[in-house]
Amino acid sequence: MRNFKRTFFVVIILIFCVAVTNVANYVIIPYSYARITMHNIASEEHDILYVGSSHGLCGIDPDIVEENTGESGINLCFGGEYLRDSYYMVKEAASHHTPKKIVYELDPGYWVSPENQNGDFGRLYYEMPLSKTKCQYFFAKMLDADFRTIIFPWYNYRSQLLRIKDTVKIKGSQEYDEYDPAYFNDIVESYRKSGMIYRNRIEGEKSFDNFVLWDEKNIQEISKTYFEKLKVFCDEKGIELIVITTPIPRETQEMYEQQYADADQYFRTYFEKQKVEYYNFNYMDLGGFNRALSEFADGEGHMYGDTAEKFSGILANTLKNQ
């Protein structure tokens, strides 16, 4: 009887924990662009999927590319997206509709730094609908993450406790139900339905916060593994895989000339072996495109929205003339 009571109590406690976590998820996890992205890849058909890091997120406007090429696209890049994330994003998107092309935006720093817990992958995982891909993603990545990220999804947003009122309000609104991106617009940036983040020109010091320089010694084998997996997946599905590196400020490139040149050389050789087209826009003639630091939000190379629009035009021409 005593054991039964104890077991019963433990079960009640577990149910209580699950209930509290679910309520916390609802009231603490904010409405994010990941929700819209996941909705869009399930409900729309796209010719091109753009995957990669925050440089791609701020630098590629699929609408401009579509205007020039007639090929629709969606930007699936996010801050802290490693190749492992890109691979499962592509798989999830392709499970709804097979695209014609995948454009992988390559930031060399991501190939030489271990995956950390600071990216947005938790948001995307949380918003990803329950599917075979989600399960595979769980075993491939989430299992290695801090247990709190999985057991308590609200944990990454606990700094937003004071915004509970706003979060609850927006989650009960029509905007939320209709996946409206207007909610994310502020003085710094706005979120486009195509998945791109448009950075507004604002005054201020330009940072070098998350800058990781290329050093071949530090190359992470997992990046190669997942790139090769992505290549195999694309080949199997008849999808064309293209790799690009978006422009960075000329000042940054001059400051670390050798490292950028080494990275370019390494990837040219690597992608040639992989038989994948690689366009490094830092070593191409971009016509009148201005690569001065003034055109970027920071020294790392996140473009301002208008710069991104100009670059997307160049990207469109490159994809068209391939």
Partner: protein, 514 residues
């Protein structure tokens, strides 16, 4: 496999459930299999080093016993010489492997800087936990050599002793006589033991995630930008005190809790070290298993050696009875702590860290009679609480001085920080942009992080005071009803995500890099 990853928790749950479901006689095999799976998950190549260390020490144990059995036929002297050769070779192989992998580049770099030219470095793989299992294995062969324990004949059982997964990464350094018996014993499921294990794991996570990881944000910024945060040197070192203790003892609590789930009690590695009244006392309370290893396998062999006793006699003749008696102990202590420093890492700062501790202990030992005289002259009541508090604070300051060497990038930076600690203090630097990673420059957020660290330290302090007064957690929990205990565990479980920081280095534990 990080101790705070979901994979590790699932791995532990599967291991524990299976452990109690399979027939008891196979339990140790189950543990061995899981230990190797755990190790292989960090890389297949590094298993070679673990197997090598296991093979060398296993064979040495058997060879030593075989030699002993031949004592009647070959004679005591011959056997003694043979045993000495065997043990020397075994220790050379064990420590040689550790030395080559961990210290070659440091030596080459040092030679290069002396010669003023760059010496090429080797790209050696540093296997996880190598410092821990090498010391544990070396302790075993020395115990067999000295006849303190019988060698293990079953190679697989011995492999489990070297590789038992909870303690493989950051200790505690186990002794064969206490650990092996438990590893090979048959264990029945015991609910109370499981609860004790879970409780210890939660407490360990609290120390690591709430105290250490929050403190680490300040520590990394301050120690990483010495000149930029020169006014925060004192806060940096205090935060490091909290971080290191929370990180290391938290990690040990987690692994001890996991071992407890299997019915195994690991040796205690901490006993409220910041309540120590002297540096010697501190080392009896901090990383206890390393301290006792050093005492048994380095300090005693040196201080009781023939050459040291000859030296002691000469010193007594030339320097007087008091110094002559204390000097050999002082030298043995300096050697021990030099090794402790080298064990901590391949860098000059660690050597200085070790020497500093050795010198403080050695000199305090030599000056002990003078201290007694001064105390008497000043009529200090050394049984009083005031004196004890003074001693604790004095020791805490001395320990913090050593932390400068432990955490700073190099010796000049450590010295610079010490200088800043006494000449500069600028609290406003705490609110400088960038001191906390991930762009959280909001002063309210910084205050919240500070309040969290202080809250964590306060909880730790209260628990430590109870423990210091002799109240064991088992006694405390026995008085609390089961339902209330469960609610406490749930509360701690929810505190981890609410107050715990995002680990700066993906959940890495400081001592797991050793």
């Amino acid at each position: 496999m990080s101790l705070i990853s979901l994979k590790f928790l699932i791995f532990v749950v599967i291991a524990v459930v299976g452990y109690y479901l399979i027939p008891k006689k196979y339990q140790w095999i189950w543990l061995l299999v899981f230990s190797y799976i755990y190790y292989i998950s960090s890389g297949v190549k590094i298993v070679f080093f673990l197997v090598f260390s296991t093979a060398v020490t296993y064979m040495t144990g058997l060879l030593l016993q075989k030699s002993e059995e031949k004592e009647s036929t070959l004679g005591k002297k011959k056997i003694k010489a043979r045993k000495r050769k065997i043990i020397t070779l075994a220790l050379l192989l064990d420590f040689g492997m550790l030395g080559i992998l961990k210290y070659t580049n440091f030596l080459l770099g040092s030679i290069g800087s002396v010669l003023g030219s760059s010496v090429p470095e080797f790209d050696f793989l540093l296997p996880l936990g190598i410092s821990f299992y090498t010391f544990q294995s070396a302790g075993y062969v020395l115990d067999v050599y000295w006849g303190k324990c019988k060698p293990e004949r079953n190679v697989f059982k011995f492999a489990l002793f070297v590789s038992f997964f909870p303690q493989l990464m950051q200790g505690p350094i186990g002794r064969f006589e206490t650990l092996a018996v438990q590893l090979y014993a048959r264990h029945s499921f015991d609910g109370q033991r499981i609860e004790r294990g879970v409780r210890r794991i939660l407490w360990g996570y609290f120390k690591k995630l709430v105290i250490a990881d929050n403190a680490a944000m300040f520590v990394n910024s301050i120690f990483g930008n010495v000149d930029q945060y020169s006014g925060l040197a004192i806060i940096g070192v205090l935060a490091y005190s909290a971080q290191l203790y929370g990180d290391f003892s938290g990690g040990i609590d987690v692994v001890s809790g996991i071992a407890c789930l299997f019915g195994i009690d690991l040796d205690e590695n901490f006993r409220r070290p910041y309540f120590a009244t002297s540096i010697t006392d501190f080392w009896h309370r901090w990383h206890i298993t390393l301290g006792t290893w050093m005492k048994d396998y380095i300090f005693y062999p040196i201080s009781l050696s023939k050459w040291m006793s000859r030296f002691g006699k000469k010193a007594r003749k030339k320097l007087g009875k008091q110094i002559g008696r204390a000097l050999p102990i002082c030298i043995a202590n300096i050697i021990v702590f030099l090794v402790v420093g080298i064990w901590h890492g391949a860098a000059w700062k660690f050597i200085v860290y070790g020497l500093y501790n050795g010198l403080v202990i050695g000199i305090s030992g030599m000056l002990a009679p003078q201290f007694r005289q001064w105390k008497n002259a000043l009529h200090i009541n050394d049984k009083g609480k005031g004196w004890m508090v003074f001693q604790i604070l004095r020791t805490f300051v001395l320990v913090n001085i050593s932390w400068f060497f432990d955490m700073a990038s190099n010796v000049p930076d450590a010295l610079k920080m010490m200088r800043y600690a006494v000449t500069k203090f600028e609290i406003s630097e705490l609110f400088t942009a960038g001191i906390i990673p991930l762009g959280n420059n909001n002063p309210k957020y910084i205050m919240l992080v500070i309040a969290t660290i202080l809250f964590g330290c306060a909880v730790l302090f209260v628990v430590s005071v109870f423990q210091e007064r002799g109240l064991t957690e088992a006694e405390l929990y026995r008085k609390v009803p089961f339902a209330l205990r469960c609610l406490c565990y749930v509360a701690i479980l929810f505190i981890l995500p609410v107050l715990g920081a995002v680990p700066v280095t993906s959940g890495g534990f400081i001592y797991a890099q050793f």
